[in-house]
């Protein structure tokens, strides 16, 4: 393993965002509380996020490590972090999530009387934590990332501290979240113990002082003990440890049955925080989820017990999320349940990374298709879901009070046709109706699920998404077909409007314009979607990216853009 800080720029994104958070905090110290100064914080944050985005793209794209390659090409901090393309893509998504959230916050917080500099810093810290989860290659680092993410979110959800609901949201989130973190920690401890015990007895390439919670170590231990009398995969302690990890990460991703906090927390937290939470926390959790699952995959014995568990979780999440969303009258609760349903779809994609009944090349193929699909879906989900929350802020009253009941939006199309159209785009996209991007996201997810042998689950996903269509259409029905009850002439607009418009444009275009970064060929690290030979060489090739992102990685990124098939 490469022990050097030389190529640390591969991890630039979380570092930049973390430092940015501190800078924002410091700048806020001497700032008089004028609006202009807060706005400067927003601009600085946006600029920094843009920088992080570019750095992640430049550095990460050069590296051809797959989340499924157990031995990463460029790793740092004793192998505990890995600067790879997978992490880079997640970081880019997270930069977008943070930027959109910040954009929609400013005026909203001002009107609510909450505009304090800490808010921006906390969002940035939280983003950095989520990014860290995506780059983490050690369960301990996953935990640290999760805590950075969560602690900031606990504070943020109670940020409207004069509102009872916000307080309730924060307390509920904190208590349950702390409990879930405990699960994750305990799971890590069990895995540590199980791996350490199993390695005592076998011949292995793992070094003596290697971290026992490192993904590489775990993968090696699984491989090396597979043929012994006491394989790690069937060790009860290991199985229990992984189960606890699923609980801990499932909580952050709001997977049924660990979802019960989500509607209350989402409803109570300030809307801009809810928006960030619904995508940012999920992205981090799913990144870690995907990494852990990829480590287990090569060992049939290790994934076997979890396939059916994850199958059940994905099915339950899709059903519960969609069914409960139908009855909601509060738009934030409805979006909370809808985000639970979407977590189910993403989980389906995670599950699909482990193909049933495929071997060798086909399996790798199916896996990279599924990984691309999950990433693409998160990308698309970011825009449509944050867009929907941005609409709630955009349309709120001048004093920052949102219209929370779905019925409040009746007749919106007559008074604000543009706003209604934008909202309709998000709803149609969330519902998965073409040509919005949500359709393509679902198409790729279900395609990869069927590809990997989860046809039943894909059909279930399609059927539950019909239920989804019903409640998303309900908003359109309300906006377009019902007579007005509220006056929408004075809306908040501002940054939320900009955020919503950006998100709407992305939602419309992402489906129609292919995004090379999320194609399976790209996540395989190939320049063109034909050759599969790079896979074999990727382990031995000299690292190109981390050294000098300015000159060597950028051409590599250019190479990676797929050439249209002749």
């Amino acid at each position: 393993m490469k022990e050097t800080l030389e190529g640390i720029s591969a991890l630039a994104a979380p570092i930049i965002v973390m430092v940015l958070g501190m800078v924002v905090l410091l700048m806020d110290l001497n700032a008089e509380s004028t609006r202009a100064q807060r706005q400067r914080l927003v601009w600085i944050s946006l600029l920094g996020l843009a920088g992080a985005f570019v750095m992640a793209m430049a550095a990460g794209f050069g590296i051809k490590t797959l989340p499924s390659d157990v031995r990463p090409e460029a790793s740092y901090f004793g192998g505990g972090m890995v600067g790879d393309r997978f992490g880079a893509l997640f970081s880019m998504v997270l930069c977008i999530i943070a930027a959109l959230s910040l954009l929609m916050s400013d005026r909203y917080l001002e009107e609510k009387g909450l505009n304090q500099g800490e808010y921006y810093a906390l969002i940035l810290f939280s983003t950095a934590g989520s990014m860290m989860m995506a780059y983490a290659y050690d369960l301990v680092n996953v935990f640290i990332g999760l805590e950075i993410l969560s602690v900031a979110l606990y504070i943020l959800s109670g940020f409207a501290r004069r509102e009872l609901r916000s307080e309730e949201s924060a307390v509920k989130y904190f208590l349950l979240g702390a409990f879930a973190s405990g699960f994750l920690m305990f799971g890590t401890a069990l895995v540590y113990g199980a791996v350490g015990t199993s390695l005592l007895t076998v011949q292995t390439e793992v070094e003596k002082n290697a971290s026992l919670t490192n993904f590489y170590t775990i993968a090696m231990a699984l491989r090396d003990t597979a043929s012994t009398a006491t394989p790690l995969a069937s060790s009860p302690i290991f199985v229990a440890g992984i189960a606890l990890l699923i609980v801990g990460l499932g909580f952050k991703a709001a997977i049924v049955p660990f979802h019960s906090y989500a509607p209350d927390v989402y409803e109570g937290a300030p809307t801009s925080v809810t928006a960030f939470m619904s995508a940012g926390a999920k992205a981090g959790a799913f990144a870690a989820f995907l990494r852990v699952y990829q480590i287990l995959l090569p060992s049939e014995a290790a994934t076997g017990p979890y396939r059916s568990v994850l199958w059940g979780l994905a099915a339950a999440t899709m059903i519960v999320g969609n069914v409960l969303a139908v009855r909601q009258v509060n738009i934030k609760r409805m979006l909370a349940y809808s985000s639970i349903a979407h977590a189910g779809y993403i989980l389906l994609g995670v599950l699909a990374t482990g193909a049933v009944g495929l071997r060798g090349n086909e399996m790798d193929e199916a896996r990279s298709v599924a990984q691309g699909a999950v990433l693409y879906y998160l990308f698309v989900y970011t825009f449509m879901n944050l867009g929907a929350f941005a609409m709630v802020i955009w349309l709120s009253r001048r004093n920052g009070r949102e219209f929370l009941n779905i019925q409040d939006y009746a007749g919106l199309a007559r008074q604000q046709p543009g706003a209604a159209a934008v909202m309709a785009v998000f709803m149609l996209s969330l519902a998965g109706i073409p040509p919005a991007a949500g359709f393509f996201g679902k198409l790729y997810l279900f395609l990869s699920a069927v590809n990997s042998g989860y046809t039943g689950l894909a059909v279930l996903g399609l059927l539950t998404s019909v239920i989804g269509v019903y409640y998303y259409l309900n908003i359109i029905v309300t906006m377009y077909f019902r007579p007005a009850v509220n006056d929408f002439s004075e809306t908040l607009g501002g940054g939320a409007k900009t955020a919503a418009l950006i998100a709407a444009a992305a939602t419309l275009l992402l489906g129609v314009i292919p995004v090379p970064a999320f194609s399976p060929a790209f996540s395989r690290g190939e320049a063109a979607p034909t050759a599969s030979s790079t896979r074999s060489t990727s382990g031995t090739a000299a690292p190109t990216g981390p050294g000098a992102p300015g000159n060597s990685a950028a051409p590599a990124a250019m190479d990676a853009l797929p050439v249209p098939a002749p």
Binding site: N361, E365, G372, A413, R414, P417, L428, I433, P434, P435, F439, F440, L443, Y444, F446, L447, V450, N451, T455, A458, V459, L462, L463, S465, V466, V469, Y470, L473, V477, Y480, F481, R482, P514, S519, P520, A521, P529, T530, S532, P562, P564, A565
Partner: protein, 607 residues
């Protein structure tokens, strides 16, 4: 003109942008301008030359050749083998022209009716045209699916915003009902993709229709798989048609939709279902289609009779017309699944006929609704004297709907019944009663609305048609007679395509071979016999007195349908022929394929 299909897709989108930019009062003119422009552009499609069906072996080449003329293929989402692939064959081309034709009148019918949120209305109506045209010319399964779904969105808004009293219920029901079916189709499309990729043995699959079709023709799927997929496709299309048990969304949607919505709904959207069968469900899964045919025919016949009976009992004119659509579309399904040339031609012709006559009926009902704001039959009576012009045009359209000879309805229904009789005689026995029923419900309605004395005081003030309304109605009347008297100018475009579909579907040589020569403009007959029971390629020689080559038109065992004028030998230049080219030189008749001993024996006359 190679890119005409793309142009047709783009024109309405540009039109919609134009409408959005226009002031409110001129939005309708913008929409009309766009519709007429698109229609004129679509006339370029009439340059389509039916591809000759020649020899026995090269079927797939020809299948692709069907689509070559206006084909466009641009790689799109190439990671998944999705391309922007457009192309038409005969039936698709005719349906596109019908769509652009109806669009003009849908816009004109909205001129007085729509006073609220005018700009949004015309933008949606214009965008709908793009989606419809796209559905008819997409040759990529995902692209088709996208257009197929895209149709729902504008229609949903048209019904939901500008509809009648129960519009919300109707709009949501319409949307969800159709979506359930098409999502299952999406699963089947994905499964098809993976299966074809498995067959090809490559890591890159394809959603391309022509590729998938040719792969499946060489490597048939296991019967169980193909039956499942056929089922999923069929369910999606059966809901759209709608076939008998899935029809309940139709009366609600039709009744609540604004006039233009009804015209488009009946004229084009229902055809998406039957077109889906013709283009996707049957050619992709021929064996499954053959096996399911008796079942589908049964449902179609139930639909014919049931739709007619329910229509007879309706009190609302628009609902009556809606139920009559269930009956008429039952005929189309009967014709398609009879798997005979006449049945297929009749079915496609009936698709166009139904678009014209039902479109006209909704248009006329819309006119009277604008005057009285009621559609209940009992609110009228004695309009014959009151609105002479309107009544007479309504009568013609009624006749067309009843399928009186010399009107378009007759040709379609007769061909369907003729075709279906050869394979499912008993189904035809029952289906024919539908013709009688349609006379009963239409004429009974006509009698109650138009005859008698004007006994309601409100009806005394009714104005006759305005000149503008007349202008919208007359083209329909012309089309009714044109299709009724000289259907050949339409069938000539589609027969060869249908023969090919039929050959794929039945795995047998088609009975009718009609060869069109590109430059000769002549319609030469190189009919080849074809035994309906022998598998193709190994057609055993049939001793017969008739030699190969042209033969007299009336040589078959069954008389040609009246109203269908068989063409004389050699060449016949129909009025529409002028579009195709200039040279009138009769081209040599393609020699009949097969071994010399294979002497054709005509069974059934062609059209």
């Amino acid at each position: 003109m190679q890119s005409i299909l793309t142009i047709l897709l783009v024109l309405p989108v540009l039109g919609a942008i134009l409408i959005a930019a226009l002031p409110k009062n001129s939005a309708k003119w913008g929409a009309l301008f766009t519709a007429i422009l698109t229609f004129v552009a679509s006339l370029a499609l009439l340059g389509y030359t039916p591809v000759a069906l020649g020899t026995d072996a090269a079927t797939l080449e020809q299948a692709a050749g069907q689509f070559r003329q206006f084909e466009q293929k641009i790689p799109w989402l190439s990671d998944f083998g999705i391309s922007f692939h457009l192309g038409v064959d005969g039936p698709a081309m005719l349906l596109i022209v019908m769509t652009t034709f109806l669009q003009i009148f849908a816009v004109m019918a909205s001129f007085d009716a729509i006073k609220d949120r005018v700009k949004e209305y015309y933008v949606l109506l214009t965008l709908l045209e793009t989606a419809m045209i796209g559905s008819f010319c997409a040759l990529d399964l995902i692209l088709f699916y996208i257009f197929f779904e895209l149709v729902l969105i504008p229609m949903y808004f048209l019904i939901g915003i500008w509809g009648g009293k129960r519009r919300i219920y109707a709009a949501v029901k319409f949307f969800l009902y159709t979506l359930v079916g098409s999502l299952l189709m999406l699963v089947a499309i994905i499964a098809l993709y993976l299966n074809v990729r498995g067959i090809l043995g490559t890591s890159e699959g394809t959603f391309d229709y022509l590729t998938i079709k040719s792969v499946l023709a060489d490597n048939p799927l296991p019967l169980r798989t193909s039956l499942l997929m056929f089922g999923a496709f069929s369910l999606a299309f059966a809901i759209k048609v709608p076939m008998f048990p899935f029809h309940t969304w139709l009366p609600d949607a039709h009744t609540e939709a604004p006039t233009a919505g009804s015209i488009i709904l009946a004229g084009v959207l229902l055809k998406l279902g039957t077109y889906g069968f013709l283009r996707f469900a049957i050619p992709l899964f021929p064996e499954a289609a053959r096996l399911s045919a008796p079942f589908i025919i049964t449902l179609a016949v139930i639909g014919i009779v049931y739709g007619a009976l329910i229509a007879a009992m309706q009190r609302d004119v628009k609902r009556l017309v809606a139920y009559s659509s269930v009956s008429h579309l039952g005929f189309v399904m009967l014709g398609l699944f009879a798997f005979t040339p006449q049945g297929m031609s009749g079915a496609v012709l009936q698709m166009i006929n139904h678009g014209i006559s039902t479109g006209a009926l909704f248009l006329l009902v819309g006119m009277i609704y604008e005057r009285r704001h009621t559609r209940a039959i009992k609110d009228f009576g004695g309009l014959w004297e009151q609105m002479p012009l309107f009544s007479r045009i309504f009568l013609i359209v009624t006749f067309s709907s009843i399928a009186l000879p010399l009107t378009n309805g007759f040709v379609g229904e007769f061909l369907i019944l003729l075709g279906a009789f050869q394979t499912y005689p008993w189904a035809v026995v029952f289906a024919t009663t539908g013709v009688i029923w349609s006379a009963i419900y239409m004429l009974w309605m006509f009698q109650r609305v138009f005859y008698g004395t004007v006994d309601k005081p409100e009806n005394r003030a009714l104005r006759d048609m305005t000149r503008f309304e007349l202008a919208t109605a007359v083209p329909f009347v012309l089309m009714i007679f044109w299709l009724g008297i000289y259907p050949t100018s339409f069938t000539r475009y589609m027969d060869s395509s249908l023969d090919l579909i039929l050959r794929d579907a039945t795995g047998k040589e088609t009975v009718r071979y009609v060869t069109y020569q590109r430059d000769g403009l002549s319609r030469a007959r190189a009919e080849r016999a074809a035994t309906a029971d022998e598998p193709r390629v190994e057609t055993p020689p049939i001793p017969a007195s008739t030699g190969p080559g042209p033969r007299p038109a009336f040589g078959g065992e069954l008389p040609p349908p009246p109203g269908v004028s068989p063409l004389p030998e050699g060449d016949a230049v129909s009025p529409a022929d002028g579009a195709a080219g200039a040279s009138a030189e009769p081209a040599p008749v393609a020699p009949p394929p097969g071994p010399p001993a294979d002497v054709p024996q005509p069974r059934v006359p062609g059209l």
